[in-house]
Amino acid sequence: MVQEKVRFQPFSSEPIRLVDEQGHWVAPFEHGLPPELLQRFYRDMLAARLLDEKLVILIRTGKTSFIAPHAGHEAAQVGIAHALRKGHDWLFPYYRDMGLVLALGVPLVEIFGQTLGNAADPAKGRQMPSHPGSKALNVFTVCSAIASHIPPATGAALSMKLRRTGQVAVCTFGDGATSEGDWHAGINFAAVGRAPAVFVCENNRYAISVNISKQTASENIAIKAQAYGMPGYYVDGLDVLASYFVMQEAIERARAGQGPSLVELVVHRFGAHSSADDDSRYRSREELAAERQQDPLLRYQRFLEQQGLWDAQWANELRLEISKALEAALQEALQAGEPDPLEMFDDVYAARPWHLEEQRRLVAEELQS
């Protein structure tokens, strides 16, 4: 479905926002969304938040070796997840997208398996935690190397165009990623090739400790799109409905053959960069406390309340139900045990060449003795 009329202007000087801090709908159009979907957004944001809390517990109890907290990104991630056609469009996520892949339907057991790096991980425990992927759901495997997934997203989008599949490639990254050569190379090629792609910056204004002022001298990230010849949308990513509607418009525009766009969703990163980081070294507790006041879940809760779609009992039941599902999936994943060590030699190539056979035999003998 192509939008009848274009709702959003690229290159706005203020971030696009549809719901204000007090939860008021402030857009010049009706949202027109069914109550179930509105509640679903809340559910998915809450699930993302509770997943984040669970991951923090896993790192504190030594059950996993790494996490990249996504609290503060929930509205952006849930907005993205619901704007694309699940299982049809492709997502090229980055390591902070655990809430996004959850909302897209990647099973919790797989998420925990990947976090534990054990036999419940469909990727066989090869990568660090927070690097999910799912062939079944068209979620490209996350790569640690920043921005390295952007040219591949362009390539996949070009394939979608060449093969006329009607799909769109959505690619997410942080603000730091926009400094890498791969970012510029990929975005430029997509624009030149009119690839059906949407590039999404989840801008939390930090790349580990480095503030955005060291990342770009542009007034924002969205404006960079101008130079490449595509629209750039500057959006309040703490507003799930703004994230959703802008993403939907960009995706449908790409699907209709009108080329790629860049969407900047401005968010907060409530946690440290990762479990290996101590953010008190570079940002003040006052700054963080002020950001925490702008919790995307709270804002959306206020909106739902005004729509008569939220009450404490419902939210508590939801919380309980999600917590149970999280715990059950974690227990299931924990049962899976270690992957077979010899799997180390699989998947380097489609078939094992002689040198890998040799090395595999060596380890097999060693493990037997």
Binding site: S65, F66, G117, N118, K124, G125, R126, Q127, M128, H131, C143, S144, A145, I146, A147, S148, G176, A177, S179, E180, G181, D182, A207, I208, S209, V210, K214, Q215, T216, A276, D277, R281, Y282, E338, P339, P341, E343, M344, F345, V348, H355, L356, Q359, V363, E366
Partner: protein, 324 residues
């Protein structure tokens, strides 16, 4: 003499060189306020200011490429790549610009710079935080490549690298950052680039290694001594140009070479050293030189320990050599 960890030795070397020479500057991701993700540059921005300890945009191409220009114009940049695995987006700058600048300009321009990077596995980092890419660098003419294994060497060699007139890749095994401590002289000293260290003298077999697996190599040597054997142990320290003279002299004495490295086996430093020894000492060898290495797979998270040369694997290969 102060006792230091490897990371403290690096911090000290940087501090001393910045104090000594105003042209020395640091640049990289998170090197400023954060002090580097491993804290190698901790406290230096406070001391020398944000122009000499510069947080850069997240771009290895920009970091390494800018270092080339800074160096060509007269500065002495020390660039930090957050993990060796992330040098690849900057590899064109390192290989096409830094490495070849002196040669292609007929000696008119040069890039006296250091590119520091944490390397190797053993910290549950999965393949993008565990690789040992030294062979790529060694294969590129124009680069010198150092891989340290002790705090003392780290200080002496990093200071030498900063004063060296060529681009130097300086690799720091991240699993050793805080694992080893030793006395390091507080005064200004340099160690020669290209010179190996004989860690133990012996007559029966030569064990050659460098970087992270020096730990397992020395442990294996201890076990061999306990079993009544007399191994010689060499730490290459510089893998390009590597110390052929010391290695050949040792193998000429023992007749047996076991080369141990954590990097993938094929086309590696270990291949180079064993091939050279075969070429030059063929008729003095008591057994064919052997290699214990990492595997030709990406570095897998779940098999983090199994991937690296283990003491068992080193001892088994040594036995093969001795029984030959």
């Amino acid at each position: 003499m102060p006792t230091m960890t490897l990371i403290q030795a690096i911090n000290t070397a940087l501090d001393e060189e910045m104090k000594r020479d105003e042209r020395v500057m640091l640049l990289g991701e998170d090197v400023g306020k954060r002090g580097g993700v491993f804290l190698a540059t901790e406290g230096l921005q406070q001391k020398y200011g944000p122009d000499r300890v510069m947080d850069t945009p997240l771009s290895e191409a920009a970091i390494i490429g800018a270092a080339v220009g800074l160096a060509a114009h007269g500065m002495r940049p020390v660039a930090e790549i957050q993990f060796a695995d992330y040098v690849f987006p900057g590899i064109d700058q390192l290989f096409s610009q830094a490495a070849k600048l002196r040669y292609r300009s007929g000696g008119q321009f040069s890039a006296p710079m250091v590119v520091r990077m944490p390397t190797g596995g053993g910290v549950k980092g999965g393949h993008h935080h565990s690789q040992s890419p030294e062979a790529h660098f060694a294969h590129t003419a124009g680069l010198k490549v150092i891989v340290v294994s002790t705090p003392y060497d780290a200080k002496g060699l990093l200071k030498a690298a900063i004063r060296n007139d060529d681009p130097v890749v300086f690799m720091e095994p991240k699993r050793l950052y805080r694992a080893v401590k030793e006395e390091v002289p507080a005064d200004d000293f340099l160690l020669p680039i290209g010179k190996a260290a004989v860690r133990r003298e012996g007559r029966d077999i030569t064990l050659v290694s460098y970087g992270g697996p020096m730990v397992e190599t020395l442990k294996a040597a201890e076990e061999m001594v306990a079993a009544g054997l007399d191994p010689e142990v060499i730490d290459l320290r510089t893998v390009m140009p590597w110390d052929k003279e010391t290695v050949l002299a040792s193998v000429a004495k023992t007749g047996r070479l076991l080369m141990i490295s954590e990097a993938p086996r094929t086309a590696s430093i270990a291949s180079e050293v064993t091939a050279t020894v075969s070429e030059e000492l063929f008729d003095q060898l008591l057994a064919p030189p052997l290699r214990v290495t990492g595997f030709d797979t990406p570095y897998p998270l779940a098999q983090d320990k199994l991937y690296m040369p283990t003491v068992t694997r080193i001892l088994a290969a040594a036995k093969r050599l001795l029984d030959y």
